[in-house]
Symmetry: D3
Subunit: 134 residues, 6 copies
């Protein structure tokens, strides 16, 4: 259950802090968060493609939390394992071996998400629903 | 004609240096270049998607030459302006305003490619054919 | 007069591309540009402090265009040379010697701005007025 | 009490390791640490401004420990919440959404510091006093 | 024994994930891992020099896992403390004070490795043997 | 003769700006420059190794001016082509394909330096002598 707890903690801290950020009342930051949400909604590109764009960017910039977020969303959007590994490959090649430690953690997160998808799909959906205020 | 010359110079310097790099005989570097070429060929993801992944990564990492390369390839692969602007938007949002100077140059390159596409499609294809050795 | 021409070219390319970017009609990008403009307007912090924050961020992220922009704005906002050199020092220390080439170019830009300030203050103001659409 | 423990651990590890670093006897590193300390002391810019410069640089470079350090120092130097949120906003805008996970942790640290400021001001001062050797 | 456990956990997670990565069957990623292994084997430069190159790169790119890996390998390859501190100094100077938190953790790792070298050399060798599949 | 002119311009701009930087009288920056010079002088590691450390760091951080500087110094210090290509390979692998445009320019610079070494060794030495004030 460790893995589920990890995603749970991730979600809970995220939510708690996002609420504080919005409660701060800073209009610029609030609008930035809205732009962020909008950018990943269906448009000229579908959600699947956008999530892969977010995932590869997070890999080359080496941000674990961002990678976790976009893997959850990619799995929910129906991106296949074969497709995600192609994204991993491009991220690794462009970003270099410095990306490898993040790739390892990404693989652990992907496993966890696939496990939820099979055994607890409602829980997976809940994990993906982490920006309720936007 | 400035713009066409820019892409021409880009291609010519690239080719000349790529030849020197391969002529160096370093096996590791040669293989890296092969991996790079392979990563962007049709697989579980199509070439269009892969080029957009390359483009967004180049934007958030702020590499003008890489952005130029992936815009040329995206246009050749048939990515529409609407789709490219979605990639620009995601790159800008994830990478921040520090990406803006690169976005400006990317817009100039996109213009140049669309111009070639209309007025000199053979020239555009030639621009995209810049890794003859791989 | 080289230096003035440099700033002129910078301004002219910026303006031309910013217009194209807005003409693209992408709402997300347009709003991002507005957030960017707003962030540097007087608020809980004055414009002087905000421009110094922008300058040091541009230095540690090593973006020449961004450094140029924030030096112009800092000079217009009345930041003294002594203050700018303190910002340079903090940027150099946090960002490391990899910042030095950008510091050299920053010093050339600062010279150019101080020269304009003395000999052609209207021109300097014009240089700073580079986001007319926002 | 978790939060206090976090800052306590941060301080204790920092101190232990800084001592080892100085004990190594490497003159270059020792002098670098001195330059670092000096850069943030009152000069042409006051300590408040310098700490905000350090904070925004740490945000755009995405270094949690550095963010924690400069938040502690900013609070001690009397930077208000309104001012810190302006710094957060500029860091987010320049650095992009990749900064968001660090912003969340920064908000948690700020809360912890404000809590100490109210309930245990001596403890807060102690937290800030983490470079005794310089 | 904490420190040994840290390195143990590092090794165990690495191995488990590396196996999953290879089991994914993605040829590009597999070949990238092979290139990575080959790059650090004796060639025109000896292993000692190559490990120091890997260490300084990991420092300026601020990747703790990569730093840990190259410190282990450097110690096994016979790099002295004096030499490692020179690498630390160059990494700090080029990368700036943003490297300091990583330097602190690097010093803790180096201590742990030297301790193993003295008290449990077989264990140290085992730690270094973390890419059995390549 | 283009290539020689490039290095000449690089040296001339560097010298002119370094002089201005020192003339600014900022003690912190002056001392930083001294630390930088000292770091690359013979110590527990020889100059050759240190220059390779500087070169690989400059590659993974993608700074053309820094790469140029360390190639000049490496050639003067007697690093062979085989050794430099090993450094290039490690920089490429760790830093990823985003390094390739810088690798191309590095190869052009290396050619230029080898040419000077053969045809105008005094000129090469002069190129390397770019920090007279430290």
């Amino acid at each position: 259950m460790d893995e589920i707890n990890n995603l749970d903690e991730f979600k809970s801290f995220r939510e708690r802090m996002n609420e504080k950020i919005l409660a701060s009342g800073h209009l610029g930051i609030k609008r930035f968060f809205t732009l962020d949400t909008n950018a990943f909604q269906e448009g000229a590109l579908d959600v699947r493609t956008k999530e892969m764009l977010g995932l590869v960017s997070s890999m080359v910039l080496r941000c674990d939390d961002c990678i976790t977020y976009h893997i959850i969303q990619s799995v929910i959007a129906g991106v296949s394992d074969e497709e995600i590994w192609e994204v991993f490959n491009i991220g690794l090649l462009i970003g270099g071996s410095i990306v490898i430690p993040h790739l390892r953690r990404a693989v652990a997160t992907l496993d966890e998400c696939r496990d939820l998808e099979t055994n607890n799909p409602d829980k997976l959906k809940e994990q993906g629903d982490i920006s309720p205020y936007e």
